[in-house]
């Protein structure tokens, strides 16, 4: 079985897995990192959105072999200890989550957006394609705007 070494949330990890095993299952089933969620497995619902070398990506379609030597950040790695990321704080302020299942992915997508642009427009926010089946989109939009202000 091939072995793959990469960084997750600041720690170096090694997993033995077939090259083509989607990273999502390496994280969830082999490393017990269960913040990223399965919602479709084909990169359309985006529930598993995490960061690869600082950019948003979807581990459900990335073969584990392609993570080798790279830096993965999941929702678990976003806060600084007990200090939440400003985007998480904004999510609390707006009480965004309902069932919460998509929210780790929504938050990681928002963090990546705010990294690219400090003042996202409505069109920038519209480009986040993560599905929220509870329909919390308006609160997500408000939270992203609030986070942008917090981070200014």
């Amino acid at each position: 079985m091939p072995s793959h070494t990469f960084t997750v949330n600041g720690k170096s990890v090694t997993v033995d897995a077939p090259d083509d095993l989607p990273l999502l299952w390496a994280l969830r089933d082999l490393l017990d990192i269960r913040g990223p969620k399965y919602g479709c497995g084909i990169n359309v619902c985006k529930a598993c959105t995490s960061h690869l070398d600082g950019e948003a990506f979807n581990p459900c379609v990335l073969p584990v072999s392609e993570a080798s030597g790279r830096e993965v950040t999941t929702i678990e790695g976003l806060a600084d200890g007990d200090r939440l990321h400003p985007v998480q704080e904004a999510w609390l302020e707006q009480d965004v989550a309902q069932c919460g299942y998509c929210q780790p992915g929504q938050i990681m997508a928002a963090v990546a957006l705010l990294k690219r642009t400090r003042n996202p427009t409505d069109a920038d926010i519209d480009a986040i394609a993560n599905v929220c089946r509870c329909g919390t989109y308006f609160r997500i939009r408000e939270a992203i705007k609030s986070a942008a202000e917090r981070m200014a």
Partner: protein, 735 residues
Amino acid sequence: MTRHARRRFLTYLVAAPALAVATRFGVEAYAPGSADAAIPTPPAPADLVDLGDLLILAGKPTADMLVLSVDEDGGVDFRLPREEVGQGLTTAVAMLVAEELDTPLDRVRVHLEDARPELLFNQLTGSSNAVRSLYDPVRRTAAAARARMVAAAARQWGLKASELTVRAGVVVAPDGRTASYGSLTTAAATLDLGSLTVTPKKESEHTLVGTPTSRIDARALVTGSHPYTLDLDVPGAKPCMVRRPPTINGTVTSVGNEAAVRAMPGVVDVVVIDSGVAVVAETFGQALDGKNALEVTWGGGTVDTLSDSDIRARLKAATPSLDLLGALVRKVDTEFDFAFASHAPLETNSAVADVRPDRAEIWSGLKSPIVAQAAIAQAVGLPVSKVTVHVMQSGGSFGRRLFYDAALEAAVVSKKSGRPVRLMWSRIDDMRHGRMRPATHHRVRATYAAGQVLTFQHRVAAVETDFRHGLGDAVTAAAASLPTGLGNATFAQTLFLTTVKSPYDFGVTTQTLTEVPLRMHTGSWRSVYSANTRGAEEIVVDELAARLGKDPVDFRRSFLKTDRQRAVLDRAATEGDWGRELPDGWAQGIGFHEEYKSCTACLVEIDATDPKKPRVARAVIVADVGRVINPRGLEAQLLGGLTDAISTTLRAGLHIDKGLPLEGSYSQFHYARQKDAPKDVRIHVIEGAGEPGGAGELGVPAAVGAVANAYARATGTKPRSFPVNFDVDFTPFPR
């Protein structure tokens, strides 16, 4: 209806069932004397006794069998016999407990109760009924706990209980002595304190209940630490997925390459079950590869020859014709179709099961765990008492988790494979073989003359909705309280008639349901019959207004039955700036709905400049749900209902093609994304009194009407088939 009448009605209903109540209530609430000239519509069954009333009544004998404990640190644990799926129930219940105990909200922990068969009908989550049914029992339970704490402190200090107060979980004596709940809990549990008279606080004394409060689990949800079913660590539980048939309810004839699949990396077992072939593996990725590699010969399903056009034809044929009318009467006469809709909660069907020869343990998101427990016990050959069913907080439901499909499969696989399993449905399977809202056909005829609506007839035909999840038993148990005339109705008709009603005085009003019994995986979808039925009616209301030369808001105001309804409508029109100028291709639309003692109006503005790509840009929602526990949570529910309505009215539905939905993921079933959602949503909650009404499903039907009406005005069309944009704009996944 007046709130006073509602209150007396409910109280009486609870104390002694039924028919007398309905009659008396009807007379009180609908006595003549209103100044408007609309032709009164007599109360419909749902005006007298709604489904929620029946469920409350059925649950009454066990309503107070609630468990609350206080630990030595003063932390409060409450075991909730309901399911949390995102609707905010645990937060609302924690608020009620904290309020009655006078303890900080963050000291209250709410746990979802395991299946408790002795609760009978008091462990089913549905019909927007959790807060309605729990409001009094939870307050009584917490008030009883507080009374014991105070009595224990009084005994300790030799004072009268009436002299003591409680502040933030600490009992305080007039002389300043204090004792925390934590220090009192043992005494409170063991001392013979005599019988205590318990009265929950007066609602005017509430300081927490009624204030906007964030979810108690919000931090866990935004840090990814909240454990959903498949995030649990059950020792030895292996990932498992099921290969399902190419058509709904197809059967396994034979597996051609079992040995080859067993030899695949990570695969640990292959098990044939009723619904398909299960592959157990070390990771879900490997289980998925294994199930995809299986070569299975399938037997036929139950609707193999049917596609959408056939089902629509059957629905149309099953829709009763409307009464003949005189040639001089003018009428709006129209028909509607609504497609199947997937519940599509983001967390797919999932369960963990550990079945041993002498006992079983199950974890899953379950809204009817008692029924699930009984079915699982039977399937694995154990007594119910040996099957422990843990209810997991879930990633959405919208009606989906009334069924326990994944829990049952996981239990059977665990038994056959001799190991614990974590079973997950793929998204494709969840959409194609999961539950769906049945397709419906509607025939509506409204007659009018001299500015009045004389009759309003609505005939609904629906593919049969599967209610075999315990709701039937509860309703049957409460059948004695059904209004006259419902005694012989079928179960589905009873549900229809206890949920669907018209808020308008449209003269003689009849609404009926006919079911077409196709064996498909159907289930209640948020607001059950009302989204389509009342949504269609709100479209007809706009067309009636146009025929009578009235503005849609003015027209509704003239024909709504009560001042309470009119206040909600008017507030929406004011807040939403009804009638304001908009660019070409844009329009406003309004919808109104009343159910479960609550009412709401929704006003939207749509940009349909490109009719194939409409976007609801702005929305205003007003609701009066009686007493509000948590306005913030209520607003969240209304926001969700709006998004559901935008989705299913404009783009989201399932096409059935030769016995299987074509849609298999969110790229095909077009539930709204951020780009489809309004950029501006204002929600106004009218402060109500009396009992809390139902609110979890309330938002959908009014918004369906508002979105459809706005689309019609913006495009100059008369939409009749929903969703309005419903092309097969994708390549379906292989079967």
